[in-house]
């Protein structure tokens, strides 16, 4: 027993240490490591010790019902079982909020600032432009001129739909000189179903969405796709953002019997789960805490998860705040009615008592708490209706209303900032899910507030907000220095450039694409003869990049790297192979054996229908324990925590996957096959079409020459190597009358194009 005592003290020290720094995941399972508490000497300490048996078996309520029940399955109650604890819960005090606590910018009420006056009023197209330009003028920075038309079209098309502009769209837009050409492009893109498929991915990152549980068995959630499809359809239907939020929090309560609304609550249960964990109390505790933390970060931009073990170290969020919010979910059952998957449903059973969990340990219930909202986010003291204790329903509906108040300083700021972030590459607040004290300050507080108040005024329409952002002059700025490209060319070329000309605009040039030449955005290397306009451009760029290298003031557009999903979709689209199929269970394209081998057997069953392998990336099976290699290499988040902004790494494995993977070669072969089908054996036409499909522009003269050189030299080399058709990667389908060495060289050119920096970046 001596040894037992020592071990116990060590464990006690560990638990006490938890008080000293930040929050911690519930590691208190180390209690188990202790020898029996009953037998050990209990040292005098202020830390309370549970005296209840440590290994209470799961109650019947927590046992899964057998699969074969056709009726909706009650998987387990989200109710507390151990309410009959005999001992006193430890006294935990909650400090009242102070004026200093409320002083932080994000907790301030929303303002509705008037767009400021600017000197260069002709630059202003939307109120957004006034805010940004006022800032630039204050800093003495000149904004960049608009990007050329081809660049703009690629930017907006990928941004809004995740797909490349079709060559026909490119030509149409270049030729369209009508005053509202740009607006019509934006409307067309927003109306495309591809819009929902693109923006749903941003939301699914936040929702830590995957189609399996994670942990050992990583069991598939066969109906998880219904939530994914709900998000896509809601976005495409332009479901107002307030309803979009409300249904995800309380769809079952707000629209009883509506299956779509119930599917929306899949958000709450989308996180990882370990159904076979020993203690179902622990499982429920983990789920509730994870759900509560996700709601806080996604909808409020507060890292309230930090408060599950003790008061937030920096933000005015107490442990009580955390468990009050958690109590909102505690009356829910977690339901698995076929065929909706994991959705929420209110319990018919009596309301349980919600408690704070001491140090986040599921075995240590503390003081009782009533359902409520984090105080710092609730200046109105909104309460969770209904007041009657015995009625369990309506808690989540109350939360849903709370999270969609038009005057909510956090909830509105957080979503408009996310919109800005995805359009401009970086949020006005650069910590999009942390508007708290440790988050960054907004670059443009008045603009953020103007946007936050504009969203409800626009009927909470996200599409109208997209339109507002994308039609701004700020959005249309060039991301690269003018003087290094356009102006460095000879005078005759300058007028043929595809600068995006706005109606009645100061440039006043009726420039249009040369027939047959198409857009050409790429410069030849700079020369020594610089025009006066180029000289000004150089000065502006140099000044701004020295004064504001990080583009804090938005004097240019940010260049963005494509994510893995978009890279894949663009490759499929370029080779004209993208399947138009939408919705349904996640599909599984082939995986390299060595990757599949890291899973349990049978966890990646390749979809039988080959067309499914060519569907948009958002429809690929999202396994929690295995990210599709191309996506993982390009920083897809792991779906274990809500991800507000993806990492953007540059690694050698990315290069290897685009150079050497079967998928990349397959698309190169198909693209080459497409080029033969459309351009025949005309080498220049093949090259031009290849540029159009991969980079959404035509090649410059120099690029054309370089590509010809590559193809010619390549074909000669293959010929000299005496390689048989079997030893070459040939177009698919094969062109009957084409020389196979030339065909193989074209495949290699297509593969190289997919590896170009320009392909994976958007200017």
């Amino acid at each position: 027993m001596m040894m037992a005592g020592i071990s116990f003290i060590a464990a006690l020290i560990r638990v006490m240490a938890c008080r000293t720094v930040g929050w911690a995941w519930p590691t208190a399972a180390s209690w188990w490591a202790m020898p029996t508490l009953q037998a050990s000497t209990r040292p005098a300490s202020s830390v309370s010790i549970p005296t209840t048996p440590l290994s209470s078996p799961p109650t019947l309520l927590h046992i899964f019902a057998p699969h074969f029940f056709a009726i909706p399955l009650l998987v387990f109650h989200l109710v507390l079982v151990s309410s009959a604890r005999a001992d006193e819960p430890p006294a935990i005090e909650e400090a009242p909020l102070t004026a200093a606590d409320r002083d932080h910018w994000a907790f301030q009420p929303l303002a509705r600032p008037a767009p400021p006056a600017v000197k260069n009023a002709s630059w202003v197209r939307t109120p957004i432009d006034s805010f940004i330009l006022a800032g630039l003028e204050h800093e003495n920075l000149a904004p960049q001129p608009p990007a050329d038309r081809a660049t703009l079209l690629r930017r907006a098309t990928i941004d809004l739909t995740g797909l490349p502009p079709d060559p026909a769209d490119i030509n149409a837009f270049l030729a369209d000189r009508s005053p509202d050409a740009w607006e019509r492009v934006i409307d067309r893109l927003l109306a495309s179903p591809a819009y929902g498929e693109r923006w749903a991915q941003h939301w699914l990152d936040l929702a830590r969405f995957a189609e399996s549980d994670g942990f050992e068995f990583d069991k598939v959630r066969p109906d998880a796709w219904r939530y994914r499809d709900w998000v896509i359809e809601a976005l495409n239907a332009d479901l107002p953002y307030d309803e979009f939020v409300q249904l995800q929090i309380a769809g079952d309560e707000l629209l009883p019997g509506d299956r779509q609304a119930a599917a929306a609550t899949g958000f709450l249960l989308a996180g990882p789960d370990m159904p076979d964990i020993n203690s179902q109390d622990e499982r429920r505790h983990n789920l509730l805490n994870e759900m509560t933390a996700a709601v806080g970060s996604v909808f409020l931009g507060l890292q309230i998860g930090c408060a599950q073990c003790h008061d937030h170290k920096y933000d005015p969020i107490s442990q009580f705040d955390f468990y009050r919010l958690r109590a909102v979910f505690e009356t829910a059952e977690y339901f698995q009615p076929q065929p909706l998957g994991r959705v929420m449903h209110e319990s018919a059973s009596p309301v349980s008592t919600s408690r704070l969990m001491v140090r986040g340990d599921f075995r240590r219930p503390g003081p009782k708490v009533s359902p409520g909202f984090p105080r710092i986010a609730n200046p109105w003291n909104d309460s969770v209706a209904p007041p009657a204790e015995e009625d369990s329903s309506g808690r989540r509906a109350a939360l849903a209303r709370f999270l969609t108040r038009a005057d909510h300083p956090l909830a509105t700021r957080v979503i408009v900032n996310r919109l800005w972030q995805h359009h401009f590459g970086r949020g006005l607040v650069t910590t999009p899910s942390d508007l708290g004290v440790m988050g960054s300050w907004p670059a443009q507080p008045p603009l953020l507030d103007w946007l936050a108040t504009e969203l409800p005024r626009q009927g909470w329409s996200l599409k109208r907000m997209h339109r507002l952002l994308v039609t701004s002059t700020v959005y249309q700025q060039s991301s690269r220095p003018d003087f290094l490209s356009v102006s460095s060319r000879s005078g005759t070329r300058e007028s043929s450039d595809n600068k995006f000309l706005f109606p009645g605009e100061r440039l006043g040039e009726g420039a249009s694409a040369q027939p047959g030449e198409g857009p050409s955005a790429q410069p030849d290397p700079p020369n020594n003869h610089e025009s006066p306009s180029a000289s000004l451009s150089r000065r502006n760029w140099t000044t701004a990049s020295a004064a504001d290298p990080d583009n804090q003031h938005w004097w240019r557009m940010n260049r963005r790297r494509l994510d893995g999903e978009t890279i894949r979709d663009l490759m499929l689209a370029a080779s004209d192979n993208l399947s138009p199929r939408r919705g349904g269970p996640g599909v599984m394209p082939p995986l390299p054996d060595e990757v599949a081998a890291t899973l349990l057997k049978g966890q990646w069953k390749i979809s039988l229908d080959e067309e499914d392998h060519r569907r948009r990336s958002i429809y690929l099976m999202a396994r929690r324990n295995l990210r599709y290699p191309l996506f993982e290499a390009f920083d897809r988040p792991d779906a274990l925590l809500s991800c507000p902004q993806r990492d953007r790494s540059t690694t050698a494995p990315q290069a290897l996957i685009l150079l050497n993977s079967d998928f990349a070669l397959q698309q190169a072969r198909r693209l080459a096959g497409y080029l033969y089908a459309r351009a025949g054996n005309d080498q220049d036409a093949q090259i031009t079409l290849c540029y159009l499909r991969v980079l959404s522009r035509s090649p410059t003269a120099k690029e054309l020459a370089d590509a010809r050189e590559f193809l010619t030299a390549g074909a000669q080399r293959l010929q000299a190597e005496n390689r048989s058709p079997d030893e070459l990667a040939l177009p698919e389908p094969r062109s009957a009358d084409a020389d196979f060495c030339q065909s193989a060289a074209l495949v290699q050119f297509c593969l190289a194009m997919f590896n170009a920096n320009e392909f994976v970046y958007v200017d």
Binding site: T431, T598, A713
Partner: protein, 487 residues
């Protein structure tokens, strides 16, 4: 150490901190020369500061907090939970009370399966004192018994979960939950890599696959993805997509890369020599070099027959693990920082049914290769600064399961260390008389991690990464270095 303890906000977009994100075995050091070669450095607008790049390169070798005992790690992970009471932790009382239930004085025991009332099962093979130290090791491991004087067996390890995936995560990341950075990622983050052609952290999974918990066990969590483990295999294609696909030769690829370089240079020049674009150019050069470097690393044909025999290569039972052990030596020899080998497929060492049969087979597979690895490290001068770690996600219960098997036991088990900075021929700490719980000088997983970092010259309280408003650590808010085992 500021570059280690604090990384700037990864969400902001400035150049310098982009460079912190760039990498993946990517040599930004090589970048300046690459740009120079292209004549791109001449332009005033290109902000190229080779020194800055060097420090900003996320995988550049970094100085530890203090003088390290070891510079690199080979971690032999025995997946499934090897039985400490049958391998490393002799318990005479278990023989004495064999067949009887666990005395009530041990109290309630949390188990994975319902084995708490089952009779105690004595060690299935005898233990004997070995070497000059007399360290007791079971007859299951005759070859490793010959290395007893080199081993430091931590007999009082304990963790927090009776479940495989949670414990696999805990041993690898410190947390029983999914998604936190792994030990190898933390070490790569803290120390960088000494081989610029390869990632710092390589994982050699069991070819049987099916690790319980999956790839998150070597994930980088909230650390930049450049620090995550890269899986590597033996054979011709050791890293995914390392070789050009069928129909594309190295010559074809060189031609593509040459065109790509020209195309990217034009693109780059028109974009003010954006560092991120330049880094991507460099990543292609590195990828090309990796294609040569990696196959060379795994090519054991250059090794002598004697060396191969040392590892048991050529013998049916030991060939596979022996080859991976030899590969591990070749990798650390070439500057890879952290190599993790998994032994055991989905079931692995999970001897619920029959310890004799399960451990008999798996011990035969690893015994000679591991002993060979230790001997080879010694004779090649790698011993003093290579730390070898061997253990599973937990141990096994003193009670029997299904007669001859044992259930999971995270409350007390053994992990052994050898090599750089560790005292050999010793056992540290102890479990209770039956091997159920860590009793003397307990070493929690956090303590083990703190100790491993300490051996590498890293202070576990200072190796932090700012994430979601908190300076995160491998050891969370716990961890004590076990100083008594330091040489």
């Amino acid at each position: 150490m500021s570059s280690i303890s604090r990384t700037p906000d990864p969400l902001a977009g400035n150049r310098r901190e982009f460079l912190l994100r760039a990498g993946g075995g990517l040599g930004i050091v090589a970048l300046a020369s690459l740009l120079d070669e292209q004549g791109l450095l001449a332009d005033q607008t290109a902000v190229v500061d080779a020194e800055q790049r060097k420090t900003a390169d996320p995988l550049a070798a970094k100085s530890p907090h203090f003088a390290p005992r070891a510079k690199r790690v080979i971690y032999l992970f025995l997946h499934g939970g090897p039985s400490h009471v049958d391998l490393w932790d002799p318990k005479p009382d278990l023989i004495k009370y064999a067949g009887q239930p666990l005395p009530e004085s041990f109290g309630a025991v949390m188990t994975r399966r319902k084995v708490a009332q089952n009779p105690l099962l004595p060690p299935v093979r005898p233990f004997r004192p070995r070497g000059q130290s007399g360290l007791e090791i079971s007859d299951f491991l005759p070859e490793l018994s010959g290395c007893a004087d080199d081993l430091c067996v931590l007999r009082s390890c304990h963790g927090d979960s009776v479940n495989h995936p949670q414990s696999v995560y805990q041993l690898n990341t410190g947390s029983i939950l999914m998604g936190r950075p792994s030990l190898g990622s933390w070490i790569s983050y803290g120390l960088g890599s000494e081989n610029r052609d390869m990632p710092a952290f390589l994982v050699l999974p069991d070819p049987g696959g099916g690790l319980k918990g999956g790839p998150p066990a070597w994930g980088s969590g909230y650390l930049p993805s450049v620090y995550q483990g890269t899986t590597m295999r033996t054979g011709a294609s050791p890293i995914l997509n390392l070789r050009p696909p069928a129909g594309i030769t190295a010559g074809d690829q060189r031609a593509m890369l040459d065109w790509l370089r020209r195309q990217n240079a034009r693109h780059h020049a028109a974009r003010d020599f954006d560092d991120e674009l330049a880094a991507r150019v460099a990543s292609y050069e590195l990828a090309f070099r990796m294609q040569t470097a990696a196959p060379d690393m795994v090519d054991v044909s250059a090794e002598t027959e004697e060396t191969k025999r040392l590892y048991g290569i050529g013998d049916k039972e030991t060939d596979e693990f022996g080859t991976r052990c030899l590969l591990a030596r070749r990798l650390v020899e070439r500057g890879v920082r952290f190599v993790q080998l998994y032994s055991g497929d989905t079931n692995g060492w999970d001897a619920h049914k029959n310890v004799e049969q399960n451990h008999g087979q798996l011990c035969r597979r690893i015994d000679k290769p591991v002993a060979g690895l230790l001997a080879d490290l010694k004779r090649r001068g790698l011993w003093d600064d290579t730390l070898v770690v061997c253990g599973g996600e937990f141990g096994r219960m003193p009670m029997s399961e299904q007669g001859k098997g044992r259930d999971h036991n995270p409350w007390g088990y053994s992990v052994w260390l050898a090599g750089g900075g560790v005292r050999g021929g010793m056992a540290y700490g102890a479990t209770d008389p039956v091997g159920l719980r860590a009793a003397e000088q307990p070493v929690h997983v956090h303590d083990l991690h703190a100790t491993l970092l300490h051996l590498l010259g890293l202070d576990h309280t200072r190796l932090t990464f700012f994430h979601n408003g908190r300076d995160e650590r491998l050891t969370d808010v716990a961890g004590n270095v076990v100083h008594d085992i330091l040489a």
